[in-house]
Symmetry: C2
Subunit: 619 residues, 2 copies
Amino acid sequence: MLLDRIQGPEDVKRLSGEELLQLVEELRSEIIRVTARTGGHLASSLGAVELIVALHRVFHSPKDRVLFDVGHQAYAHKLLTGRRDRFETLRQEGGIAGFTKVSESPHDAITVGHASTSLANALGMALARDVRGEDHKIVVVIGDGALTGGMALAALNKIGELGKDMLIILNDNEMSISPNVGALNRYFRSLQVQRWLQDAEERGKRVLEKISPRLYELADRAKEAAKLLVHQENPFYAWRIRYVGPVDGHDLKGLIYLLDHLKDLKGPTLLHIVTKKGHGYKLAEEDPVKWHGVGPFDPKAPPKSGKGYTWSLAFGDALIELAEKDERIFAITPAMREGSGLTEYAERFPDRYVDVGIAEDVAVTTGAGLALAGMRPVVAIYSTFLQRAVDQVIHDVAIENLNVIFAIDRAGLVGADGPTHHGVFDLAILRAVPNLKILAPKDAAELRAMLKAALEVGGPVAIRYPRAKVAPVAPGTWPEIAWGTWEVLKEGSEVMILAFGKTLEYALSAAGEDPRVGVVNARFIKPLDEAMLERLVREGKKILTVEDHQLAGGFGSAVLEALEKMGLGAEVKRLGLPDRFTEQGKIESLHEKAGIGPEGIRRALAEWGLALAPTGRTA
Amino acid sequence: MLLDRIQGPEDVKRLSGEELLQLVEELRSEIIRVTARTGGHLASSLGAVELIVALHRVFHSPKDRVLFDVGHQAYAHKLLTGRRDRFETLRQEGGIAGFTKVSESPHDAITVGHASTSLANALGMALARDVRGEDHKIVVVIGDGALTGGMALAALNKIGELGKDMLIILNDNEMSISPNVGALNRYFRSLQVQRWLQDAEERGKRVLEKISPRLYELADRAKEAAKLLVHQENPFYAWRIRYVGPVDGHDLKGLIYLLDHLKDLKGPTLLHIVTKKGHGYKLAEEDPVKWHGVGPFDPKAPPKSGKGYTWSLAFGDALIELAEKDERIFAITPAMREGSGLTEYAERFPDRYVDVGIAEDVAVTTGAGLALAGMRPVVAIYSTFLQRAVDQVIHDVAIENLNVIFAIDRAGLVGADGPTHHGVFDLAILRAVPNLKILAPKDAAELRAMLKAALEVGGPVAIRYPRAKVAPVAPGTWPEIAWGTWEVLKEGSEVMILAFGKTLEYALSAAGEDPRVGVVNARFIKPLDEAMLERLVREGKKILTVEDHQLAGGFGSAVLEALEKMGLGAEVKRLGLPDRFTEQGKIESLHEKAGIGPEGIRRALAEWGLALAPTGRTA
């Protein structure tokens, strides 16, 4: 295999044109082979193979900085930059990351996972380069979905104003995770349909002459370059960004040719390439949503959609039933329809559903607008992405105590996506926000009870649940829940474990049948069930809190605060995630390492002199 | 006065054309008269008087929803919507807010204070209106600065895609708080210069005919409408937003005429008006930066710039000295050059300074890019605005432990700007973020010591200081600070008060000369000085924490967490802001009400049986 000879980008430069085409095929095979075992962002990475080969052919990483927005399309980049031997460990505990990561390779210019951050990073790098008089190139690869994120647009605005030398490659694959939305995106479509296919040669050459005589000269000779167009009337012109394209992002020779001639242009240039997610792998081309992020799969068959019932689906199903009865229900997602379990809801209630695109801030504040107009919006958002809308929760929703429900999915550690995606800050952030209530259900029935109660109680309510499977419940199941109450699942004579969500099962497992150790479903994180807490303490029980969240400022801290407020001294231990970022790995394994799994709980109990037998048996 | 007869918007509709012009003058006088006493956002509000009169002439608030972005330009709106009798209380404790506020009036469509939120709110309201089949109008007034914020652009993208009926008025006053930045803004300028003044009549009428035959007909007759232009090649076209303008935003008759004919257009329309901040008040027109937000002033004289030395200036002066010695220093502001004390720095080091516009997320991640390139960026940001970049702090800076310093100004209660602007969540949010350190200086010398130490220690460091005066220090003052240490300012035999920043002076005042009560400058919030904490507790001291921050998740919680971790039982009381939003008012008065002023501290001590005499005397 050619790939065996590629130790780094310089080796790509030694290959012949024929060999480059072979390299593309080998990369694609390797990506399919490994992700079939590890799972991963297959479709995006397959779509970017030619682009990445062309980039490493033309540019000189790491001197030149190549920034991949989101960083999930960069598997070929990892394979070409000295990580082939470790590629089998992709997304595994201790292995290489599913995104680009600065600490993993000097060729990874940014550590990333969330969308739309590349341009602001590139702006910073360009400012640094220019003040120091350096001359390396900065190349940004950004998808059409990520480019419509507000942060990317605002950064583009500044880059255009300053006229920083930079090549921005708009990798237009016509969809982010959910089918793409937004007017700009439709505009990209119209550019393609109307312009690309029409008599481009003359116009293209005319504008080429203006921006680069050399490029013009070559374009005059080379057929491929005739596709090139510069639209001065497109929106990038208003941003003072030179626009080139759209061109075929799977035409390797054309890409290399273009990059080679665009690389020395002064000022910001945007090259619009069109690619197909999953390119070269029929199954993925046909259903790129399903193949966006996949678990391990059989390369010959479509990935099974969902392995069992999840919290996301439980939420989506509950919301459908609520929306049937209550016309004020309105669901909002920031480009996460499938992930949030809203696919069926969106089909059933298209008028009461909006996907605002990769714009979490807009999602939350659109919820505020709906609530101000008397609707009952439900913002479905992953915990990690809610971090992108903190001010909107505070400023737009909580100050006026608006009726917005936040369905916070993927709360706690999420596994293979690693530190950029773990949802482990939401409680610390949200607990401080007045008017906001925070709940965490133990099962699908309780999720329903909480959604119903949230609608009744009103104001902003956050309901958090993990990335995990959950047992389905029968349609029509709408149990009641007493607001603000915890639930004793098991009495204990010496210690009560306060846990919620994912850690509840660990607590039950650790406690086993031991009569000394009880377990409480601490499902209300704000308000706490202070009455129960007080009772437990007055009964002389020790309190052990366990949470799938950073220790600093989390649920355990809320318990300490409540005890301080009540002036109650108590023996309390808190288990949670330590003060460092948690790497990728299997969720249960990460939990044990962090000391919040059954073993960690048993160790904590042992420190109090309560030696417990292994799971399920009494000491 | 005509104003005496205006009880609500309907009264505006009864006035004659002459009377409307008089009303504009009266509004302007009233705004100047009252803000001279109360302080406030004078320049923006003066610039929007004609627009607001025209809006209430044409639209029917509150049925029609009029959303003011930021909400600081809406004084005339308050005067016309039943709040004239209370206008004297503007920005005073218990009085009306300096921004629009839903709970204050049905005519205030959104509660606001931060920029760029109006369009997402309007999107939500339009979704609600349309799903219910209602037919009221939605009008958004947004400045050119706020429109270049990412959240506004992303919302615009969705509004354009959905084609929602909505009138967006771009109030282009050529500057936000700092002179405006960004390529889009330059584009707006070019629109004006190139197009407005040239032969507009023919082109304007041609496009008018397309969008509204009735408007065309009128335009054919009315000279004013001839200014009207629709640029299909401008960026709003790509967003599928109909663009009309630019027109003179101080031409009341023209505005009423235009609004009257634009109001029934289907789909989103953007009307670009050009106004002058401070219009009609010479002093403010001449220096709108100084008159953006002013304290009480003499209407006949320019406002005094700064009454004494502030924390902001202390930071700016320190940064200048650091930048002189260290070429890696790079300052970043999100449109807050003056407010952050960076005016002189920006003049001295234009190559190591960037104002990214109203885009806090871009500010933080530009810092990440600079740090990745080896620079030592300092992001100067208000605490309340850092809420808009939480994910960028976590995802772009902290995961890779990048060398970014956050100079967090206006931490704690900020006074007259009220709940949208209080900086009272930063500790809860930032404490949970691994790798991040959090410091709070007691004076300007300690601020310098902390900046220096932050550069030495590396990684992300947040230094928070209040909106307050501080004594200046001599240039060249660079004291050392032992990392992670607190400082005993006064020994106490029974209680030690742990305080920092603003609350330190309250603690000293409360403790007075009483030998039983000591005071510690708890200047390291993360990491805490656990050694000192342990020593104090082992000495049997009671601990009283006092912070200008929400109680939930703040400094006091950090102390409780540390004691739990060390397994130390201690008598602890925490004072901080209660779990509700704090209204506007004088800072010291708000602090006393919240129980964190000297009286509140004395009450807390009294609960421990330590009756203290009034300030400065021993019990």
